[in-house]
Amino acid sequence: MTHTAKAPPAPAQDEILISTRDLTKHYRIGGGLFGGPARVVRAVDGVTLDIRARETFALVGESGCGKTTLGRVMLRLQEPTSGTIRYRDTDLTDLGEGALRALRKNLQIVFQDPFASLNPRMRIEQILAEPLRSHGYGTPAEIRERCTELLEMVGLRRQYLRSYPHQFSGGQRQRIGIARALANKPDFVVCDESVSALDVSIQAQVLNLLGDLQDQLQLTYFFITHDLSVVRQFADRVGVMFLGRLVEVGTTEELFAHPQHPYTMLLMSAVPRPDPRRRGEPRPMMQGEIPSPMNLPKGCRFHTRCPFARDICRAEEPMLQTGGGPAVACHFPLEG
């Protein structure tokens, strides 16, 4: 199955590949037999999102805001608490185990930690062959050939097939992780902080590789990161997440040029500026700590840290206004 065979040569740019509607993931903490009342962590709390075919959608936010959980739930590596996930014409939400396994060849993930994501007791060849075998790729010889092809596709030499993960550097391991994800020619790839653990120079190499592969294989990326400079370089559209919710969604240019949500603006201003002339220039700072996802504030969940909060923000939660163009969840969006 190739992509060129399935998709028209010049596909409509806004063909929706994967979408979520009001997706939530809550974790219960405590509340065992003698644990007292259970508390609920709202890791993902009502996310509605459309991801278009062949785009790179970046999800940014502070650690603990639910980015990783959202990525996992979208692939149903974790079960959603409520809401729906659609992939093309299929509703993933209640798909049975067998059908889901078959679909997994199209939905892939590249992990953050290149040292934890490869089984230390398997050779590279076994690691790359596993997804192929799981989906009945072909004869052992064909699988072997495909493994070589994959390894060369990510810029590693075929000799490495017989090596073990510990013999590689972080960047090389991450390439192997990418090769594994691409083994069955997926169209949707979640990159969960996939370059965060790497040195800056290696980061650039891996990003270039991801970019080239996207062009070659018509991939759609869901790129989870906290690194805004990576987002600016790499993403088509950006979603900003705060405490389990999207607070702003827009194209990269829009978002970086005219952030509308105060949180987005404050995140952007926290990026170091490599410009000595602007050193010492005052910048707006965020106040206070992130509220606990177990005990959300009433009203807008950002109001405790927002420099512009007014009465209505403390009372009523603003909803993300979707429907084309940039969307923002704020009562008083900043002027562009």
Partner: protein, 295 residues
């Protein structure tokens, strides 16, 4: 033993070496492990060919030759019935080695399968298996083993059964906790994301990462099983005299410890050396199976 920092670029990696051959090569380089293996092989051969190795009859009673000291005829002296101690140790090795190895393997196998299933599947499976294990652990194991021996009769097969019944629960516990830690690892999540079947994940990803623990458990459970057998024999429900096992030899010999110390000490040393040999083999295997310990 530091692994090379650079990836293996040498042509060696192209060579079509199997995992088994790699492991054997690494094992052979481990001197202590080879010494242990040699000892165990010699012991096994000695036990199998005991009638040809030893000129003495292990069951012949000679009341005029009781508790003789070490000599050319009786290398380790004689016991209270005038039987050659060395010969009895060789014959006793037959039972003690089997009792040390067979039930350990059985309880390890059962414990591993149940532990991985319990840890990976969770839910009801986990609940049922762990409550069973709790019951086994809560019950006084010596009593349990004695009940088995009494009701089913004192023979070797029932000793195996009793020991396996007592041993699997703690193995299952340890394997389960390891599985719980492993299933959160990203490479397991990657396998799930690939659509790998659950059975394959358990067998190909979790099991190999549990093996080092199993080897340690195995080398610990051999001496334990030998001790269990001697406890049961001492209480009269295990191996029946005049049959010999090391535990029984120590138990009976201790009565004459002042007149003829070798009667009790020699089989004790045999237990000690055997346990050490298995420990060396276990360490060697554990290192040989770890890819990052290989050159």
């Amino acid at each position: 033993m530091a692994a090379p920092a650079t990836p293996a670029t040498e042509p060696e990696t192209l060579e079509d070496a199997s995992f088994l051959r790699d492991t054997l090569r690494a094992f052979r380089k481990n001197r202590m492990a080879m010494v242990g293996l040699a000892f165990v092989v010699l012991l096994v051969l000695g036990a199998i060919f005991a009638p040809w190795v030893s000129p003495h009859d292990p069951y012949r009673v000679a009341l005029d030759e009781q508790l003789l000291p070490m000599s050319h005829t009786y290398w380790l002296g004689t016991d209270n019935f005038g039987r050659d101690v060395l010969t009895r140790i060789l014959y006793g090795a037959r039972i003690s080695l089997m009792v040390g190895i067979v039930p350990s393997l059985v309880s390890l196998t059962i414990g591993t399968v149940l532990g991985i299933l319990s840890g990976y599947l969770g839910g009801k499976t986990d609940f049922v298996v762990m409550r069973l294990a709790d019951m086994m652990i809560a019950f006084p194991s010596l009593l349990l083993a004695m009940v088995v021996m009494y009701t089913l009769g004192a023979n070797l097969l029932n000793i195996f059964l009793a020991l396996a019944l007592v041993g699997w629960a703690s193995v299952a516990r340890v394997v389960r906790s390891q599985t719980l830690a492993l299933r959160e690892k990203e490479f397991i999540e990657a396998a799930r994301a690939n659509g790998t079947a659950r059975a394959t994940i358990m067998f190909a990803h979790i099991f190999p990462n549990v093996v080092p623990t199993l080897i340690v458990l195995f080398s610990l459970s051999i001496p334990e099983a030998i001790m269990w057998e001697s406890s049961l024999s001492f209480l009269g429900v295990g191996v029946q005299p005049p049959e010999a096992s090391w535990g029984l030899l120590v138990a009976k010999g201790k009565e004459y410890i002042f007149q003829a110390p070798s009667v009790a000490i020699a089989p004790g040393i045999a237990i000690l050396l055997t346990v050490m040999a298995f420990n060396f083999i276990g360490d060697g295997l554990r290192d040989a199976l770890d890819p990052s310990m290989k050159d």
